[in-house]
């Protein structure tokens, strides 16, 4: 398995605005290729509180002067994420990855990418891959208010370049359509707009997305988020109830699951 454990130099931290931030990391030249939906475990601080690494979807990948760069999109929630946001240029962040099973793009057709808040972190590389494959898609990006739609313009550019659009949805109406992102999804599904749905966001939102898509006979995949201890399959902490009655591991069997694999 191509997983590396490497120290990465921080190239920059950008606020979008806080609590959302992106952190750019320079990886060693042989860092493996990252599939859309894969994640890394990042350790910002050699101290013991917080003790465990934090899981981050790989938001974006680029290359400069031969060195691969990873960009992580995060939201400051607790100690771990705030330590990471406080890194400065030149600091080291230890990264274990890439980890997990990413999105499968075969037969995506025209796709809906449904993001809830910082869940968009799992969907930008997917948008890039669809764009590169010449596959049309729309991005439905929801949040409580405008500030929750971090980096929305990057999605808008990719979607419009692929013959689709960004549909912004906020609960307070401060950007785009007022309401819930799942309502926008339901409208499009009713109009048979998409052949597949890809989603990442809060679990209740993804459960609703999966239920709506299934009701309309549209297959889809969700990038799940659970608390993780290790990210590589050792702690067995990230159990996901599987449709077959077992517990899958989010870190190894996922984080991307088909809608019908998960017992929502």
């Amino acid at each position: 398995m191509a997983t590396r454990d490497v120290a990465c130099r921080v190239l920059g931290v950008e606020c979008h605005p806080l609590p959302y931030y992106t952190i750019s990391l320079e990886t060693p030249p042989d860092f493996p290729e990252v599939a859309p939906g894969q994640f890394v475990m990042a350790l910002a601080d050699p101290g013991r509180d917080p003790y465990l690494r934090r899981a981050f979807s790989v938001f974006d990948v680029s290359r400069a002067e031969g060195l691969p760069r990873l960009e992580l999109l995060g939201k400051v929630i607790g100690r771990g994420t705030s330590r990471l946001a406080a890194r400065r240029v030149g600091d080291n962040v230890h990264v274990l990855g890439p980890l997990g099973r990413g999105f499968r793009l075969e037969g995506a057709g025209r796709a809906a990418l449904v993001a809830g808040g910082v869940g968009s972190a799992a969907l930008l590389l997917l948008a890039r891959a669809l764009h590169a494959a010449g596959s049309a898609f729309d991005v439905l990006y929801g949040g409580r208010r405008a500030d929750d739609l971090a980096c929305a313009d990057r999605f808008a550019d990719l979607a419009s370049g692929a013959g689709g659009e960004l549909v912004a949805v906020t609960e307070d109406g401060s950007r785009g359509r007022r309401g819930l992102v799942t309502e926008a999804l339901e409208d499009g599904l009713a109009a048979s707009r998409w052949h597949s749905v890809f989603t990442c966001g809060p679990t209740p939102m993804m459960a609703r997305v999966a239920a709506l898509a299934t009701r309309h006979g549209v297959p889809g995949q969700a990038a799940l988020e659970t608390p993780m201890g290790c990210g590589y399959g050792a702690c067995l902490g990230c159990a996901v109830p599987h449709r077959d009655g077992r517990f899958a591991l989010c870190c190894q069997d996922g984080p991307v699951f088909d809608f019908d694999e998960v017992s929502w």
């Binding site: 454990d5 003790y51 399959g233 050792a234 159990a239 009655g245």
Partner: protein, 317 residues
């Protein structure tokens, strides 16, 4: 001290014995923190481990507990995995043949819900040359009908160990619970029943609450606390049970640095297991082997064995 001066870190002798279990170095992975070892060979150099203690194995596979199974706490974490495992037979058939190829000694951690189940497990393990020792899990806090009652009652534990002793000649290590008033009493019972060694400690029962939702952070409400937060407690129990029982002890609890390793050896441990630190960094165990070698070289200590039980105490302490 007439031993010749050390010429290089490579000259340091890291080999230790835990009863009749001989280890190339005193660093093992702790049960439940590194699966069955083999599946993580791409992330950590298994050949450098002194030993690998498997995830707790039962007669039949177990699915484990529903989420949430873990949550982080100050300098540690709570877990309630529920002993999810692949079952002893699949381990013996599919994992052991490859795992036994590594120089690291394979220690199987076994648990049952009845003495008969433990005995059956030990019988299945006994003819396996690739298994160096048995660690008995009598102290998991996360299963309702699990082995915990054995680890909390000297009489029940003594009966259990006697029955297992009767069917195996392999080194028998009893893993102690910290969730009792006097671990030394359990340790003595284990010794009298024929145990070869002790490992200490398992996790401490703990709890955490999400103040926004007012719900426990774990599905099972309570779970096992591990990580650096528990190290002083583990050290105290290792010190106590080593002195009380005279048995060799494998120290477990929050070990992450070479200093932690030395503390446990000085307190009386003959070896240590690294657990939660592997979640943070899968290479911790291998790093500790190198760090220990370097530290002993710098301190002019020819053998790790010289440190065992070497804490200096005032007379009468």
């Amino acid at each position: 001290m007439a031993s010749p001066p050390l010429t290089s870190p490579q000259a340091v002798d890291l080999a230790v014995r835990v009863g009749t279990l001989e280890l190339g170095n005193p660093i093992l992975s702790a049960s439940g923190t590194f699966g069955y070892g083999l599946e993580f060979a791409h992330l950590a150099p298994l050949e450098q481990f002194g030993g690998i203690v498997t995830k707790g194995l039962s007669l039949e596979p177990l699915l484990g507990n529903p989420p949430h199974r873990i949550c982080e706490t100050a300098s540690g974490m709570l877990n309630s995995i529920g002993l999810q495992n692949i079952g002893i037979r699949r381990f013996l058939d599919q994992v052991l043949p490859d795992l036994a190829d590594y120089p690291a000694k394979v220690v199987v951690n076994l648990f049952g819900t009845t003495p008969d189940e433990y005995v059956r497990l030990a019988e299945l393990v006994e003819p396996q040359p690739g298994i160096a020792a048995i660690e008995l899990n009598v102290s998991c806090p996360n299963v309702k009908r699990g082995g915990i009652q054995f680890g909390h009652d000297p009489e029940l534990l003594g009966d259990l160990v006697r029955r297992i002793r009767a069917v195996t000649g392999k080194p028998l290590i009893v893993k102690l619970s910290p969730n009792v008033t006097t671990p030394a009493a359990i340790a003595l019972a284990a010794r009298q029943a024929g145990a070869d060694a002790l490992s200490a400690i398992n996790t401490l029962v703990g709890m955490a609450i999400d103040t926004r939702t007012r719900r426990p952070r774990l599905h099972t409400v309570k779970g096992g606390l591990s990580g650096p937060a528990i190290k002083p407690i583990a050290l105290r129990i290792v010190f106590d049970v080593a002195r009380a029982s005279g048995l060799p002890v494998i120290g477990i609890g929050g070990i992450e640095t070479v200093d932690d390793v030395l503390e446990f050896l000085l307190a009386g441990a003959s070896a240590v297991q690294v657990g939660t630190a592997l979640f943070r960094d899968p290479r911790t165990a291998a790093r500790l082997v190198g760090d220990l070698r370097q530290r002993l070289f710098e301190d002019g200590i020819a053998s790790a064995r010289e440190l065992i039980g070497g804490v200096l105490l005032e007379p009468g302490a």
